[in-house]
Subunit: 157 residues, 2 copies
DNA sequence: CTCAAATTGACAACTAGTTTCCATAGTGGG
DNA sequence: CCCACTATGGAAACTAGTTGTCAATTTGAG
């Protein structure tokens, strides 16, 4: 192989592969972690989006917060409302688009999950410095921003 | 909020969220990138696994290389064989588990995709230093290893 | 007010992966 | 050789997301 080991493109490719592997791992770990709470990683993320907002949100708002499509979020919400994690309440700004509020059960699930996650995450990174973690986070966010910017798409208003 | 902003657990949580966001973005970008080649990110990864191995592989070997389940890889392979990217050839070590070899078309798709990706990746990271990218990669891999370590697997050959 | 555009929810079909179960093929120990 | 065990492929049901279509609601320009 004659690939230059210091080429940015090559490193970026390796970062991409690392991101894919990590994502799979993290989802699986998350599923294990919150299984005792009758949650999955996906449901946990939905609950987290509303919990962190601190107020009921509409389905499209939740989708935006999670970075998934409106329909994807709606699907989860329909199931999770049926399962008692959320309840619909009237949206003063849009009669036919209800806000989803966490029920007692939903709130309890979120704080239980957060507690589990804090313990797990704290034990995971014992031999990585805070500095290193910070820099990695910044680098990932920088890549994400560059991914967003160069394709303005055709959506100019 | 009394969360310590410098707590490792908090940073790790943010890294996890960044990984999720990035993964979604990268898959979408990958789909766009290889769409002209009649590929998707998933198919591209399967082709890449075999191409990088440099020799035909069995379905379970491909699954392992990709970090997905045997059945997941098998599904892609069944479709991609039908679409002419792979052809089965006899496995001297296992009569009923064929090796999957890239066809001419598969080889061409891989090199076309790699060319597109190199151009794209090289243009993406203009304002990140090689050093930063390297460190981020190492950090991600370190996290991945720590995720893996408590659950050792069995199984070569 | 009215009509066009945008937003929204429901639904269907699809991609890509998972788990589970089954039948068969290969392997090694007795 | 035989028998238990493992590896494999196939199929089905499932999770979680996507795109696309449709009808109804909401909004805003004129």
């Amino acid at each position: 192989m004659h690939i230059q080991p210091n080429s940015k493109a090559v490193i970026l490719t390796e970062i991409m592969l690392a991101v894919f592997r990590l994502q799979g791992r993290l989802l699986k770990k998350g599923d294990e972690l919150v299984k005792p709470l009758n949650l999955t990683s996906a449901k946990w993320q939905v609950i987290g989006a509303v919990a962190l907002a601190g107020k009921p949100l509409s389905a499209p708002q939740i989708a935006e917060a999670m970075g998934i499509t409106r329909q994807g979020a709606q699907k989860q919400l329909n199931k999770m409302e049926k399962d008692g994690f959320f309840e619909r309440c009237p949206n003063p700004y849009h009669r036919s688009s209800p806000l989803y509020a966490l029920t007692e059960r939903g709130i309890r699930s979120f704080s239980d999950a957060m507690a589990l996650e804090t313990v797990w995450a704290g034990g995971l990174v014992t031999d990585l410095s805070l500095q290193r973690l910070h820099e990695a986070l910044q680098t990932l966010n920088a890549i994400h921003e560059q991914l967003d910017s160069p394709v303005p798409k055709q959506g100019d208003r």
